[in-house]
Point group: C2
Chain length 804, copies 2
């Protein structure tokens, strides 16, 4: 693989690549690259003798070798070239790398640029700093082997693969001067999320957004086998990328000298192309979607590393994926090979007496915030501006008395979000997998459109390049865009069918981990929270049926660190407004808000809603009948539908048992249920007991899987008396109320639960119980005959008998 070829796929006049760089440019570039490679190998292997100023001995080598060499030299190569371009063009550029296990490369780059020593003064640009730099890597108490929050200049965790393109496009949105260079690994390119991410160019406005320069890096191998993208004819490769709407330029080879000229020429061509696209769009408006340039870089895996080890080919194969020389500490041949590998970069030329990079290397790095490792977009909290917020109280649904009005909570929220969009036209977007309108947030489209740079046809509505509603039928892409947008210091709101939020479970994991670690790094500034609205939820997916019914995203999220996670279940429109306002102002959380879109009774006027949401949990006196403060039973509820069913059950019971003392407790902030020491929102035991008593039965109607309530409350005094109803995987295509009946969370089952658990109801109990059972039978019969719920169910509202 010694040759070098350049396919200028379409722009015709290429200067002879061999002349593209001056000797001096070439020199600085190559030295920078060699230094980055040298330090990468050093980080993987060494814990001493970082400049090889003495012969390499076993004790200089780490006992456990943990890191990935294979992808790293290619990443360093690109980094070195981007630096040249940044300097010559004064570019505002970020670097997102999909193959983030190439962590040593990005750490080396940040150190060469001086950023690392600014952020971590102990890792100075001197010999001691170098000892620390190499030793800390993948070492207990040190830094991870992958790109991580600890890596300056990064917004993209290097563990799970597939999200680089979506992150890059998210970063570019509303940053018209920014160019995001995004390396896509050929392993990563096999993943679904990455494959979907290519289509992001249909949503990027060349006038008001920045640019993404994808660099598909074909080094040919995954952990143990070739990659698909490297083993298809180049014709197919280019055909695919052109089909995706890009103009691909191929740079392939292994000879560093000619590769430098060729890549530099190609990069210049691409950056000229980007500038031309943007100039045209910003001057003439957007006539049609531009073809953005991109690069295909084909280099050997483990480039410049050992060609063969133990008689087997390593460079250019999957054997260089992690540690090419497996045991230099015990195997003298490996040790010698490691030494000559390191010396092949000629470290004596690269570092001065003190261990600092020599001037040609220092001069090759950009300066200040132009350094990609110090670009403020990659530490987005530094750029974060608070949203200009409308007053959410202005959108309140008037509620003269509980239950008197009906509203669609998310539709009300839509009006509020519309005005958030209006006031924040450069740093707020809403994201949805084709569900914005289905989730009844359509008022947002009064203030903006959907982002759309693909073709339009007569009759199309609400599509424009600068639209602020990001809709693609890919939860992964939406989530990736939003993460990229947030991590670069902006704000967003993701609405999603509840069941399908699970599609991004694993992405949420990674974002939660990122936030947890970032919070521990003083130099990382707080960013806006990741806000989910889960709607079209389990209790109102009667029409789409079983496949659309799953409330388990909450369960997934609460496994994450308590300081990161918030879960809200506002029971009506005004509480939803209050919660949404709070979430949009918050920082560094993952906020999950669950709320329905269907017409439902409203309970709290805005003042009451604010009080209730501020407490997060509270007794609804107006619905309770335990004026004495000594209830026979606590009726707890969390979620809009469970709240309605609980109130309807109370209504029934009030009629049957006028002297039954019921206390209604509504939960908005789910984490209030957990103990103080487990979650910052957790109630003290005293506060919990004052709501739930220490010994009375609690009938808890919960939006999600019932076990979650037990999980959150198992240490509470009254836990043994808490009886939870929730979703238990019973569902199908039926009526809304029947969904509740199937899962036994409906008003009749809840009322029966009370009767079964309050002993003092006496002989009336048996009679009332039978009446409730008859109601259930009547319901089933009615629904089977008519296909809709009984009028008394459809029309139920809180009767207000108990005052308010």
């Amino acid at each position: 693989m010694a040759e070098t070829t350049g396919t200028q796929a379409s722009w015709a006049t290429t200067p002879a690549a061999t002349e593209h760089l001056s000797a001096q440019e070439l020199d600085g570039l190559d030295m920078w690259w060699r230094a980055a490679n040298y330090l990468s190998v050093g980080q993987i292997y060494l814990m001493g003798n970082p400049l090889l100023r003495e012969p390499l001995r076993p004790e200089h080598v780490k006992p456990r070798l943990l890191g990935h060499w294979g992808t790293t030299p290619g990443l360093n190569f690109v980094y070195a070239h981007l630096n040249r371009a940044i300097r010559t063009r004064d570019l505002d550029m970020m670097y997102v790398i999909g193959p983030g296990h190439g962590g040593p490369g990005l750490i080396a780059a940040a150190w060469l640029e001086g950023t690392y020593s600014e952020v971590y003064p102990d890792v100075a640009q001197d010999h001691d700093g170098l000892v620390r730099l190499v030793t800390q890597f993948s070492f207990p108490g040190g830094v991870p082997s992958h790109v991580a929050p600890e890596t300056p200049g990064s917004i993209h965790e290097g563990g799970e693969l597939g999200y680089s393109l979506a992150h890059a496009f998210g970063a570019a949105l509303d940053n018209p001067e920014l160019v995001v260079a995004c390396v896509v690994g050929d392993g990563e390119a096999e993943t679904g999320p990455l494959a979907a991410g290519w289509q992001s160019n249909k949503f990027l406005d060349p006038a008001t957004d920045g640019a993404v320069l994808p660099i598909l890096h074909l080094n040919g191998y995954k952990i143990a086998s070739p990659t698909v993208w490297a083993r298809i004819p180049e014709e197919e490769l280019l055909s695919t990328l052109r089909g995706f709407g890009y103009e691909p330029f191929v740079v392939a080879g292994s000879d560093p000298g000619s590769m430098h000229h060729l890549f530099a020429a190609t990069l210049d061509r691409c950056l000229d192309g980007i500038a031309a696209v943007q100039r045209r769009a910003r001057r003439d408006g957007i006539q049609r979607r531009p073809r953005w340039p991109m690069i295909v870089l084909r280099t050997p895996k483990g480039w410049t590393g050992p060609a063969t080890v133990d008689g087997k080919r390593v460079e250019g194969t999957w054997r260089s994926h992690q540690i090419p020389l497996s045991d230099p500490r015990r195997n003298p041949e490996h040790l010698a090979q490691l030494e000559s590998w390191l010396l092949s970069y000629e470290p004596a030329e690269l570092f001065d007496h003190d261990g600092a990079p020599v001037p040609p290397i220092r001069e090759h790095s950009p300066v200040g915030i132009r350094r990609m490792s110090a670009n403020p977009h990659a530490n987005g909290g530094r750029l974060l501006r608070a949203l200009r917020m409308p007053d959410f109280r202005d959108y309140a649904v008037p509620v003269a008395r509980p239950g008197a009005e009906t509203a669609e909570a998310t539709r009300v929220l839509g009006g509020f979000l519309r005005d958030v969009v209006r006031r924040n036209r450069q740093n707020f977007r809403v994201f949805a997998p084709d569900e914005n309108n289905s989730n009844r947030l359509d008022a947002v489209l009064e203030a903006t459109t959907r982002a759309w740079v693909a073709e339009t046809e007569p009759g199309d509505e609400s599509l424009a390049p600068d639209g602020r509603v990001m809709e693609i039928l890919s939860e992964h892409t939406c989530q990736g865009w939003l993460e990229g947008y947030l991590l670069t210091g902006r704000h967003g709101f993701f609405s999603c069918y509840e069941a399908f939020a699970h599609i991004v479970d694993s992405m949420v994991n990674q974002h939660a981990k990122w936030l947890k670690v970032s919070n521990q790094l003083p130099w990382r500034a707080p960013i806006a929270s990741l806000n989910y609205l889960l709607t079209s939820h389990v209790w109102r997916q009667d029409h789409n049926g079983f496949s659309h019914q799953d409330p388990g995203f909450i369960d997934h999220v609460v496994n994450k660190k308590a300081e990161i996670v918030r879960v809200y279940l506002p029971p009506d429109a005004n509480t939803l407004l209050s919660v949404a306002d709070h979430c949009l102002r918050s920082r560094d959380y993952i906020n999950v808000v669950v709320a329905g879109k269907q017409p439902e009774p409203q309970y709290l006027d805005m003042d009451a809603a604010i009080v209730h949401c501020t407490k997060g949990i509270g007794i609804w006196d107006w619905a309770s009948s335990d004026q004495s403060g000594d209830p026979d039973v606590v009726m707890a509820c969390a979620g809009d539908v469970p709240t309605m069913e609980t109130l309807a059950a109370v209504d029934h019971l009030r009629h049957d048992f006028p002297d039954l003392r019921m206390r209604v407790v509504n939960v908005v902030d789910l984490m209030r249920l957990q103990e103080e020491r487990e979650h910052p929102h957790g109630l003290s035991d005293t506060a919990f007991d004052s709501l739930f008593t220490r010994d009375r039965p609690v009938i808890f109607a919960f939006h999600g899987y019932p076990w979650l309530i037990h999980r959150l409350t198992y240490r509470r005094h009254n836990h043994a008396n808490i009886h939870v109803r929730g979703y238990k995987e019973e569902g199908t295509t039926t009526t809304p109320f029947d969904m509740c009946v199937l899962n036994e969370i409906d008003r009749f089952h809840l009322a029966i639960d009370v009767i079964d658990r309050v002993p003092r109801l006496g002989p009336r109990a048996a009679y009332a119980r039978e009446a409730l059972k008859s109601k259930l039978i009547e319901h089933r019969q009615y629904v089977s005959a008519h296909g809709e719920d009984m009028p008394e169910i459809q029309e139920w509202t809180w009767p207000g008998r108990l005052g308010s």
Copy 2:
């Protein structure tokens, strides 16, 4: 959109499309299509008067209209054409449709073919049957509006989008005579999993596998906006598909007559192409990857439906996605429009006096198992053959006494799986996202190769078209292939990094739902279980760091129905063998097995392992010191690393407190912890108490998040005394033992937990506690200095002091 165009993208000589069908063929085809469309509209709207033999009145219309019209006529069109091809070519063909919300179409087809009435005799091919057919659709007590297990001929739930291609390819594997026609919706095509699925053609052996015929159906709109794939130039569209390695043929238009000729001609061409590819490969061997044909079908959304409603365009727009006429029950104009829409299909021509399809329609359907609705592959359990199993005991690691040997559990399993592969060369495959070898199952490659039809290069190892190891770096694709393979009656095994199993959370949901519903349908035969091996697990991801650490897949899975879900945590190699054997023989479950790949002490010889796994939970007498049967403390453990740490803690404590009565309980089958009434594997309270006592402290070291144990045991008598250690999101790049220390599940913390909870230890307790704390400090210091665990940790094995 009245014109019709056919782009025969490359195969040159096309017969004039207008002549392709005889008049009689065209007639039968069009009648079949009209009948399917008529019945589809009928299902969405009607609950009476199904043949329109009297004027349509409001009470004939359902009160709640739930269904999707938009995609349905296109699906019916394709179905009608496939039927012609099946008949003329005697094809073994299945139909997988991505836009599965077009459920009414597939139900209509199954009814027209007679299958529906065979499976559901109440829905006969007569007037009464028709009343039932239309009424039951999306009606309480009826059938879902999407394609579901209830739909004969389907293996693909129509709720969540993105998995059709992977399912189709999974079905085609090892079925050389099968052709799977797979409709990909243009909404679905935006998802990541679907985008990744196109690459499946690099893994399909034209000699030993069947074929997939993708039909990309561009009807232009999602719920509320245009689709990306319909709004790019055709040049880009074809370029992408050719880049993916297909030969696309475009059929576009809206005039039924010419569309019939054109689609029929194109379909014949594609089926000829498939036959030619297979013939060549089977005769001459595989020289290079074939270009499989595929179809791009561009038709109006809601084709043949109302052109305009309430003055707005409906046909050909997103407004026809669900219910084009929103309120025929109350809006007389809608009612009239519905009636004329239905009559436009000329039902009087299509159904005989009794309501059965007229002979030309019946004759257009294939016969017997050639009907796609009755194809046995789509009810895979009917074709399922048990695996020919090697005796797992033959692979046992000899364990003379507990802790004496060390083994890598998954490597041992690899030998067993190798021989399962050897004995089952047509109906067993292993699946992994590029992790088969990393997970140490490489022995499998002694019996087979990786499946690979892309290019090869000198030096490649273990790649061949007929390999039985399916590796692509896409968890989604692996999962989709495996589901398709299982649902068509075969067996499989999926190994995955534990943390990244979350990537398929949502797919697991859908498969679990499918199994739950299938189990309730007597005509659906049981299929092989979906078997996961989660390895490279949280406690041994010290080298990859925090991003690779997440044990929450278990939490996700246990939310599914108890009758579907099994979770096993074998502590060593022999128990893993026993569990794996059990899982491979089981049916209709989702089995999650968690086991490590690193060298670890072995505890049970094969006889003991079998006994232990059969019980699923048990006291390890050889490790316990409560010979009296009256322990001071119960040391419970589940998972390989927690088991080792528990035994090491017991070892320590035994030394410090020779008279401390400890009982070691090991859990292999996690669901044993749950109550009998919650899970079929649940222990009775008596049995639980006999293991865990009613009043002694239980120190429980658990592989995953600690709350899961509380969730499973909160109703047990001794729950308040159960103290669980598990993963609490503390992790980074460090040493294996340090991972345990960070999460306080290590031997020293566990021993301290015992000391803190057993009051009778007296004054020695404080001293022992301090010594343990010193150990922890010593550990931290050692690790920071040396980068590896202390020798005493690395070398610990169970000392066997307590006999065995």
